[in-house]
Amino acid sequence: MTVTEDRPTDTGAPKEIGRDRRRKEDQRLITGRTRWTDNIQLPGMLHLAMVRSPYAHARITRIDTTVAKQTPNVVAVLTGEDVKDEQGSLPNAWPITEDQKAPPHPAVAVDRVAFAGEIVAVVVARTAAEARDAAELVDVDYEELPAAVDLKQAAADAVLAHPDLGTNKSAFWQYDSATAGTGGAVDEAIEEARTNGVLIEREYRQQRLIPAFMEPRSVVSDPTGEQLTVWTATQVPHFVRFFIAVVLGVPESKVRVIAPDVGGGFGGKLQFTPEEAITVVASRRLGKPCKYTETRSESLMAAHHGRDQWQQLTLAATKDGTVTGLKVDLIADMGAYLGLVTSGIPILGAFMFNSIYKFAAYQFNCTNVFTNKTWTDAYRGAGRPEATFAIERLMDELAAELGVDPLEIREKNWIKHEEFPFSTVAGMEYDSGNYEAATAKAKELFGYDELRAEQRRRRDAGDPVQLGIGVSTFTEMCGLAPSRVLGNLRYAAGGWEHASVRMLATGKVEVVTGTSPHGQGHETAWSQIVADRLGVPFEDVEVLHGDTQIAHKGLDTYGSRSLTVGGEALVLAADKVIENAKPIAAHLLEASIEDIEFNDGKLSVRGTDRGMALGELALAAFAAHDLPDGVEPTLDAEATFDPVNFSFPHGTHLCAVEIDTETGGVTMRKYACVDDVGTIINPLIVEGQVHGGLLQGIAQALWEEAVHDDAGTLVSASFVDYLVPTAADTISFDVDHTTSPSTTNTLGTKGVGEAGTIASTPAVVNAVVDALRPFGVNDVRMPCTPERIWKAIHAHDGAQSGGAPTEGAAAPHFDEADTADRSAGTEGAEQ
């Protein structure tokens, strides 16, 4: 049993794309031969521990570091005051409006803290344990200030998260189809529906989530070379390098950032963090390598969170169920600061609320609001799950209102496959798709009609365990992003990607990619693409990434961009290699360059059996003894690709849940999905991405929530309280695909990293609500806990507490204030 596999003997191209290759990455990972950042030990290395604020909002009145500094093996203690001239302000790369308000964002707080968990001092010691011990000895006096915790109250400026700003509103952003010329006026559509049609008005809550990657963040900064070398558990080494230069004033050319093995990210490692900044500052100040690795509680408390919106939604339709208008009003919780793309996350949803449906009028309004909580930022899906949840819940409500099947109402309104390319009311051009095909296949895979029949039987029989069926026919935008579009949205960077392909003298191929995988399997998939493109064996391709000194250009991995953008850069670079080889081949084969053709790894003279393998030409270029005049002795090539459009994966997800109406407990019965992610490079990897994505979306629906108490303390700050699902909580999934290739890149790929997460949340909640409709329930707030479900069932029958109130020792182990947020959310229930 070894990891390498035999190469197939057939010679028909393409051989690799579409093949379920086992991953190249696995051998190291399954044997423990790994290089996580925290594994790195360097001579003289010092360790950092953070002193963090226990208060959500407070003035720092005094920090006494005397005792900590006198402790043996403690080398330094740094406060915000010590580093305030060096640490700069952490970046926000997406000022969504010209007048966006944002407070300065120091890595170490100087005189005020704005969320519980913010760093107020840093201890540097010989070992991590000694640093942590000494952190306990740093004496900080705080003057507690009123904290803005509740999002709606914060939006009303009841308490100011940053008094100096004078308001909690960071920015207001609008998209209006009438103004943009992409559709009608939404208020007219709503008024029309109010008098002559159907109006669905709802308020939904997108709870706050925590990315909860398995590898806690870690950073090592080594100042002992000519260049500063920084290893960090990040998705974005190129961004980190840029910001070390811009924020900390180290010349970019003196900074090397390495993302070694990175244990998951899900958007949570798309950041330039306070911990990275202060570790670099400490190492430069002390002239020694420094390491900081967070604890899980620190990670849950201080690494950025995701989602957190209130959504006010109005959907207008005609009496026959044709949708005519959609108005979206969001309040989005930024938390205490604007991180790298915090402010833009809800805006990414602006283009997705209309989804696959042909709305004639659309308006999106978003108010970004500060609170005294950990800042929010990218989390798998980033803006699009929020949008997809809202529209897919609304479509179910419309179906219920009209008494038709939820798939029927969707089909009535979605873009037909012959209507692509389709310009949407939100100003996007969807290049390809086939919602009919995906839905038909999903229904079959799921056994939709049989399950509906069972549901009817169980309803009629008054079964205490009710069956609910949830639908989600989602789309999303992937492949971030066309640089021009990003520029129009006021995002500071571009969206291109870079790749280079180097032909080594021995015929092996080195591929350098600017993407930065952390579990996605790029080494395998990229090898498959290049193997096909150049006609070389899969095993001969080595993919290099995640080190700014090796992959000198790149915009890293997030937003399901790596394949659609980075993969296309790879194709372009590989094609240039062939072009570079042609004049050399023509010269050596004594033929005209026009007669050289490339097939299956070989450059041949058309119509003859004379040819040379690419590897032979690489050797000839390396030796350079006999090259045509003016031709450089190399086949190597690089390319930078900037997409002209996004890609739009879609799919139909169907979920069946069983709800014990006596306890409110939910059991998943079946989950089937058919995704159209365009051309599939490796079906094994794609399925894995879907499986994992599904469970993260399901977890939002049923289990996960970052819960704060009234004082703004995160009470779900360990895996005991933040409910990342286990194997025992879930089931096996039925996953399949349809394919309508994207027309915006050569390979026809669309992106798959976020699809499962975006699609599954509304499918599950729709299933829960579907099971409860006979009880007059039309909403359950996420996460749909047994308590919330039970309360929704009994909202109108007087059995508010199921008998005598629970008292004393049997009462919950939290204060009432802590549980209020979890048990609320059933007010949408109606008889």
Binding site: D20, R23, I30, R33, T34, Q41, H518, E687, F719
Partner: protein
């Protein structure tokens, strides 16, 4: 400092440790056995799972001194003479890992699970892995891998794969 003697992945070690040192820190920091990782500090995630005298333990929940006189096997000691342990091979074959951070602990726990129950049902596999968190795979292919290592047909995944590959 307390002197401990223990066997790790077949080699005998003697060292002086602080009584409070956790086994996982001893393995990582003293022996360089960095294949075993820390995920949560609260014994919830199982990333640090190793075998102590052949049974799985969360090494963040064991003091190094408690391992004195005992035998520890980590993920690094599983393969013999370059041959992967069947569970490692099954994880590779079934694409039961993505980022790989939970994988060492997951594999060590899965081996212990089959030791107790050589032919578990899917439900038994799922409850047997309940103490190990994975954020990437949705557990779907991890369950397949354990079934494969147990010599069971790997259910839906293999069928779907064949289909997709065709």
């Amino acid at each position: 400092m307390t002197r401990i003697t223990l066997t790790v992945d077949g080699a005998k070690y003697i060292d002086d440790v602080e009584p409070r040192m956790l086994l996982v820190h001893f393995l990582r920091e003293r022996l360089g056995k960095t294949g075993t990782v820390v995920g949560c500090d609260t014994s919830n995630c199982g990333a640090c799972t190793v075998h102590l005298d052949g049974r799985s333990v969360k090494s963040c929940n064991v003091l190094a001194v408690q391992a004195d006189g005992h035998e520890v096997t980590t993920i690094e000691g599983l393969a013999t003479n370059g041959e992967l342990h069947p569970m490692q091979a099954a994880f590779h074959e079934c694409h039961a890992l993505q980022c790989g951070y939970c994988t060492p602990g997951m594999i060590m726990q899965a081996i212990d699970l089959l030791q107790d129950n050589p032919s578990p049902s899917e439900e038994e596999i799922r409850s047997g892995l309940e103490g190990n968190l994975c954020r990437c795979t949705g557990y779907h292919n991890i369950v397949r891998a354990v079934q494969t290592a147990a010599g069971q047909p790997a259910g839906g995944a293999a069928a779907t794969l064949e289909e997709s590959a065709s």
